[in-house]
Symmetry: C2
Subunit: 97 residues, 2 copies
């Protein structure tokens, strides 16, 4: 898995609203109604991470969820990170209000 | 819920191995076999947080889980934080290996 260049990352981020390159990782923050909603989404994400064998650096405080994705072995952002980011977006977009 | 004094916190921390007062919060880090084990414990903790209506500031990277507890409304550590910390310890101690 090869580290993407900044130009490649910029191109791909154009199709991924709400995410940005921050400190060598793809990063976003979601805000939910409450803790239960935030953790419900985390659980759905967790299963997909396990299936993709790729895991986030994430933190949660009550209704807020911050997610950072990078590929440690490659020393940067790779296709694996974009794949997981797209999966997360798909889960969020189908999350019940 | 009243903020505890540093002396009160020190006394109580003596009975709570692995936790420390750090930047105005009770803090600890757990390390598990892998992501699945870490997230399993997070899920068990999440239900208890919801039941206690008290929520952590926590972050996870693969098999590591960092937890910080304080009571925002009181501006520091209260009995609620110790109660949740003790609950978390009880869950960890009964976690299957």
């Amino acid at each position: 898995m090869t580290k993407l260049t900044e130009a490649q990352i910029s191109d791909k981020l154009a199709n991924l609203e709400g995410w940005e390159l921050n400190d060598n990782a793809l990063e976003t923050t979601f805000e939910f109604q409450n803790f239960k909603e935030a953790f419900t989404l985390m659980t759905r994400i967790a299963f997909e991470c396990e299936a993709q064998n790729h895991h986030p650096d994430w933190s949660n405080v009550y209704n807020k969820l911050n997610i950072r994705l990078n590929t440690h072995d490659a020393g940067g952002v790779t296709e694996k990170d974009f794949k997981l980011a797209e999966t997360i977006e798909a889960l969020v977009s189908t999350n019940p209000e």
